[in-house]
């Protein structure tokens, strides 16, 4: 942010009279606003795409009334949610009931800060990027627990505790499955991880093809992340048919809208992390994005990143409407007995590979054979 502000002051000499901290603060607030607008738009358009994909897979049309092909459905939904009556159950804890959606939304939105959208497009390139995302997404659990408790409703409490147990259990495979990318890059910073995948032209620089362990770890990460964001087949805590929508059963109107937006925000964060760590992030195949002039490099790399992230979100939605739901004990068994040992073995495998082959992946070794 500081370097961006410096370059802005050089470009616009009028601003050199303003103290540095005002400019930095304004730049921070503006970038946060841009990210917020992106998150909310993604939540809205994502809900429309979700329903269309659901309709496709279930052999029906989906929303098609509001606007051409139903494309304004999310605006109608948004207006409906905002205009609904704000009902708080009589015996519910009012303060915690109102506070819980904010925790969930902050836990999901705060991770947007470190996502590498383009060559220079990152709100804050923290040098603990991946670790920061893991730390911040654990705030969602507190919100879910409070929502379940404050609703004064047995099903909400049960759903809240199950959701909290599920998210906490799947945090471990998520973190461990991201570690191979960190090991290959040698840094927790997401821009460093993306840059480390840019060696070979084309898709072969991606961490996905670096060695068989990272290939496996991509699928482990995707599975664990699908569980952590409470998507089917792991969505028992908020299943409509099982638990009457779980911890958010008493929420209506814009409070429910917060939970809904937080879920889509989480989906995007998970997909963005998967693209940044395994699918090459903002690298464009057969083009060296960093060598292009600033505007085109940023624009093309932003397009590449969003295309990959949206493709992964579509895959998540596809899996969501295809597979049946796991029972809660099957869910916990899968986390603790299958995913946790597999991710640890995977991490060990990657470490040994990097030690033996001195950090080179399979494509790099093949490329060095050809000179």
């Amino acid at each position: 942010m500081e370097s961006f502000v410096h370059s802005l002051v050089k470009a616009v000499p009028v601003l050199s009279g303003v103290p540095m901290w005002t400019l930095t603060l304004t730049a921070m607030i503006l970038s946060a606003a841009v990210l917020l607008v992106f998150a909310l738009t993604f939540g809205g358009v994502g809900s429309y795409v979700l329903r269309k994909v659901a309709g496709d897979i279930q052999a029906r049309i989906g929303p098609n009334r509001v606007g051409p092909n139903g494309i304004l459905q999310f605006l109608a939904d948004g207006v409906k949610l905002v205009l609904k009556e704000d009902i708080i159950p009589a015996k519910a804890d009012r303060f915690l009931f109102a506070l819980a959606p904010y925790f969930v939304f902050v836990g999901s939105f705060a991770a947007f800060v470190v996502l590498p959208f383009g060559v220079g497009l990152i709100a804050s390139d923290l040098n603990i990027g991946v670790y920061y995302v893991m730390a911040v997404t654990s705030l969602v659990v507190v919100g879910v627990l409070l929502a379940g408790w404050a609703s004064n409703n047995k099903w909400a409490l049960l759903g809240g505790m199950r959701a909290a147990a599920q998210i906490v259990s799947y945090e471990i495979p998520v973190g461990m499955a991201l570690m191979p990318a960190v090991l290959i890059a040698g840094s927790l910073s997401l821009q460093d991880i993306v840059r480390s995948q840019g060696g070979l032209l084309g898709v072969f620089g991606w961490n996905l093809f670096h060695n068989p362990f990272t290939f496996f770890s991509f699928f482990l990460y995707f599975t664990a992340a699908q569980a952590e964001t409470n998507q089917t087949p792991f969505d028992l805590p908020e299943a409509e048919s099982e638990l009457v929508s779980g911890y958010n059963v008493e929420y209506s109107g814009i409070r429910f809208g917060f939970f809904f937006l937080a879920e889509f925000g989480d989906m995007f964060v998970v997909a963005a992390l998967a693209t940044a760590c395994f699918l090459g992030g903002w690298h464009i195949p057969f083009l060296h994005a960093e060598a292009l002039p600033a505007f085109w490099g940023n624009l093309l790399s932003l397009g590449a990143f969003l295309a990959k992230a949206f493709a992964l979100v579509l895959v998540m939605m596809w899996i969501r409407w295809t597979l049946p739901r796991l029972r809660v004990d099957q869910l916990m068994r899968m986390a603790w007995k299958y995913l946790v040992p597999l991710t640890f073995v995977n991490l060990l495998g990657v470490s040994l590979w990097l030690l033996i082959f001195k950090g080179k992946g399979i494509p790099q070794m093949i490329a060095s054979l050809f000179g």
């Binding site: 901290w21 730390a135 654990s138 705030l139 408790w149 906490v168 004990d329």
Partner: protein
């Protein structure tokens, strides 16, 4: 530190100490737990001011995302479901307040009147690489001992919270076929 950095530091300090006071005096235990969350978050912010970025993320990850969840689970599991307002009355207010305030007075006076050998010029640098290296070389033994201790705590907690079943039989632990 320039202007806004000082202001943010004071806001974080007020958040931390204010939340800690709320933890101590709020009668409803769930509200105390939420105040504790803000105290932990405030301390994490203070760590960032002390160039301890890895430690700040660890604080949020372990304390907010782990210990606070455990505390909330314990609160929810140790009350009947009909009690919405979990009241937690305190006693010996005045004696304890006197002790704690006098202790705070003594500690602050000691701190303010001692001249610590502070090295001039603050340095902000990322700490993750150094911590990782030291944990693997100089502090390897505490690292390994901590992992064994965590294993023991895990087994102990799981054993202690096993449901009271039929004595000796482990048939309730088998997976459904």
């Amino acid at each position: 530190m320039n202007g806004p950095a000082d202001l943010i530091f004071y806001i974080l300090a007020a958040l931390t100490v204010g939340s800690a006071i709320l933890v101590a005096i709020l009668p409803n235990i769930v509200y105390s737990a939420i105040a504790l969350l803000f105290a932990f978050a405030g301390v994490a912010g203070l760590y960032v001011f002390l160039s301890a970025d890895f430690l700040a993320a660890t604080q949020v990850l372990v304390y907010v995302g782990g210990i606070l969840i455990l505390i909330l689970f314990a609160v929810f599991l140790s009350h009947r479901i009909s009690d919405v307002k979990l009241s937690n009355p305190a006693r010996f207010h005045w004696q304890a307040a006197f002790i704690c305030l006098s202790l705070f007075g003594v500690l602050s006076y000691t701190v303010v009147s001692t001249s610590f050998p502070v090295k001039p010029g603050t340095v902000y640098q990322p700490s993750t690489a150094e911590i990782g290296e030291l944990l693997m070389t100089r502090y390897l033994l505490p690292f390994e001992v901590a992992s064994v201790l965590l294993l023991a705590a895990l087994i102990g907690a799981a054993l202690l919270s096993r449901p009271e079943g039929r004595k000796g039989t482990s048939s309730d632990m088998e997976e459904p076929k």
